[in-house]
Symmetry: C2
Subunit: 192 residues, 2 copies
Amino acid sequence: MLEDLISKIESQMPLSIDAKKHIFAIARERDLKKGSLLIREGNSVNKTFFVTAGCLRSYCLDKNGKEHTLQFAIKNWWISDFIAIYTNELATLTVECLTDSSVIEFNAKELDGIHKLFPEFESFQRHNLERHVVSLHRRILNQMQLTAEERYDLFLEQYPDIEQHTRNYHIASYLGITQQSLSRIRVKKAKN
Amino acid sequence: MLEDLISKIESQMPLSIDAKKHIFAIARERDLKKGSLLIREGNSVNKTFFVTAGCLRSYCLDKNGKEHTLQFAIKNWWISDFIAIYTNELATLTVECLTDSSVIEFNAKELDGIHKLFPEFESFQRHNLERHVVSLHRRILNQMQLTAEERYDLFLEQYPDIEQHTRNYHIASYLGITQQSLSRIRVKKAKN
DNA sequence: TAGCTTTCTTACCATAGGGTTAATTTTTAC
DNA sequence: GTAAAAATTAACCCTATGGTAAGAAAGCTA
């Protein structure tokens, strides 16, 4: 529901009536079935999604057809193909609903342009971009310095409830291992 | 030299005399010896660096004392510990000069605050943040879907002149492999 | 509930890359 | 320019993870 987004914004900044109205005007609520694709590799992209229920992921296919999950998104997270959005290139990612989900859909340019109409959004958006940078830096560092098992532990911490919604091979493809390796790790952990 | 930065900015946006003066006022030119550390893990960080000559890198140490290079920076690149800058946490990275280098040092908050005095910087800074996000996304995807050899090829493309400045183990620690593995890859490529 | 489909586990062997050490080459420092 | 230090290569074997395939379990569908 749109109220989820409004309260998320209001937890970070005061929101005028007019600004709220504008958000209502450019937002589109969508309910989606498990398996729906919001963005498809190779298509043009101009939408960003705020998740209000369910679970989605973005992934790419490598030249051998193997999937690599870049991001999961649950309630109150944003998801899109940010490479495509920020570079105006075609999508290299696919965004898929892992469960029945509800999202708020925005035209990325309209959303991005809010600060032109409502300058109070300027630092809010800047701050979100900075946090995005931080989370990506962290992901890179974790991938470099942690073992597959440590990355799995961290995943369970960071996404405590997501395991119910995802297939093992989704998690494996996020961790950068095969589902067989993940299965081995789970067996090993169950023994301890 | 500061002129390098000015012309880099002017290649992306018009720059008023006043704005230029302001940049001169908050910038500090520094010449550094090979091996100097600009940021040390564990210390507080409030500086960002624009490289005008030489070559630097940022890296972290894992719990086994192994180095992992997050970024290289050559002429016209920015480098810092962006996690620390954007979260106000202590540095998790170390920034090191790989060669004698020249940088322009900024207080990160002052640099970031330019758009408050000169609003024309707002979209410039936003755009830089977006490009930062894109490059990090790309790094993650490359690390996930390419082999060590493919990542090395890409590295040579992206940093064509950097090999002269860096030790093999710097490159290996950027690629996520050991220097022995990199050595093997180089031998293999030399044979073809 | 039965039957079908998908996912998960297990076991096998294969392989990329890691760790250690020693020999060689390159760089640094005097 | 030479000696010392550091980096690279090479060879060894080791380990974590991958690929394939088969069986077990779970989830859907009728």
